[in-house]
Symmetry: C2
Subunit: 234 residues, 2 copies
């Protein structure tokens, strides 16, 4: 990992073109040659970047300082993608720091609470859609992608469940596609839909209910507690 703090400008050409005027910034060059340019502003996204695999060519040129009173060295970093025509040219004017560190292996991040976990617990606790419900399977395959959960409710009705952490309109559309498709299967029809999420936007709830879907709010902590509890029981 090489970290450069410098006055720089940059120009990116690829899926779009982007121009970065001269200013002080931080340039990170990872060991795979990927490059990130950061400013104080914004969140975690760099202003410009190049992802691996790419090749960096460093040129040293003689230029002038902004007040033209003496010669100075300019450096350009030409970063070219090896897979596409994308390229990024960074010009360094004044370099304040240029250090390289060996970070070694990254053991990786462990996450808890993603959609997959919601799906896991809801499949395990399928009674949450109504006492007596029975799980058919998680990730029930269809030609247009897997349905998060397919179940049979206590009335014997096939039930497709779309799970989101935050439910928006797009999720309702997704559920609509699945229910429409599954209803063409005479062995399953009629199929109803449940839109299950930790939070659901009012617009999405309205759309879902318009289409005859039930909305189910999921409490992750509660589901996790119940899941952990049943593990200790067996």
């Amino acid at each position: 990992m090489r970290i450069i703090v410098a006055t720089c400008s940059a120009e990116y050409t690829g899926r779009l073109k982007a121009n970065l005027p001269q200013a002080r910034r931080v340039i990170m060059i990872k060991s795979d040659s990927s490059v990130l340019i950061f400013s104080e502003a914004g969140s975690y996204k760099p202003l410009n970047w190049m992802i691996a695999p790419c090749t960096i060519t460093e040129h040293h040129l003689i230029g002038l300082t902004t007040d033209n009173d003496h010669d100075t060295y300019l450096t350009t970093l030409e970063v070219a993608s090896e897979k596409t025509t994308d390229h990024l040219v960074i010009t360094l004017y004044e370099v304040f720091s240029d250090q390289t560190f060996d970070l070694g292996e990254e053991p990786g991040l462990v996450k808890d609470g993603v959609e997959d976990h919601l799906q896991h617990y809801l499949a395990e606790q399928i009674d949450r859609i109504g006492k007596g419900a029975r799980l058919i399977r998680r990730e029930y395959p269809t030609p247009i992608g897997p349905v998060d959960i397919l179940a049979v409710d206590n009335q014997g009705i096939t039930t497709a469940i779309e799970i989101k952490r935050h439910g928006g309109i797009a999720g309702v559309e997704q559920l609509t596609r699945y229910v429409t498709l599954l209803n063409r299967d005479t062995r399953l029809a009629p199929v109803r839909g449940i839109f299950a999420a930790q939070t659901i936007t009012p617009q999405a709830r309205t759309l879902a209910e318009d289409r005859g879907f039930e909305c189910l709010i999921l409490d992750y902590e509660e589901m996790k507690d119940e899941g952990d509890h049943s593990i200790t029981l067996f």
Copy 2:
């Protein structure tokens, strides 16, 4: 901008929980107190982060080195969001570098080639949907969001155009929602749809054509040339 290179571990609690085992990493602290933790792996996304507004509390503790042969100082950075309950605790074990730089103002990034530009040129060159077509307006407002372009084709039929750089199923769904809604307006009906993009996935094309929408491939460079050309003419 403060840049720390150190052996660290981290724990995030917020919308989910995430745990980062001990390893050498780069920690960036921006002037607004936002924090980013990077490793060599992955692309521009940090392993963990906290966005502004947040408060950092730095604690210095006496701990033991991993081989327990002598005391050492540990530092923890406790980063708490000021708006939510999110918090991130970083423990620093061995610090290799800890420097602060003043980057000053960021003049900002200038982009060319985003969806907005496609929309601009297509509105200007509305003939691309058929000779004699006439633009009604860009960003035609509806209760469910603005339609990218509304036009009248050479048959006098109202035409809703959804523009994407890369057209996928979600874009077709979006167009469907708009066309369905606009068709309820007796002053506009019947309304047809055009799905316009630089690239369209085969599935999206199939879905769009199933729904009676025309698919239109846009050549950005060509549109830009034509746009620039007409500017020089007037």
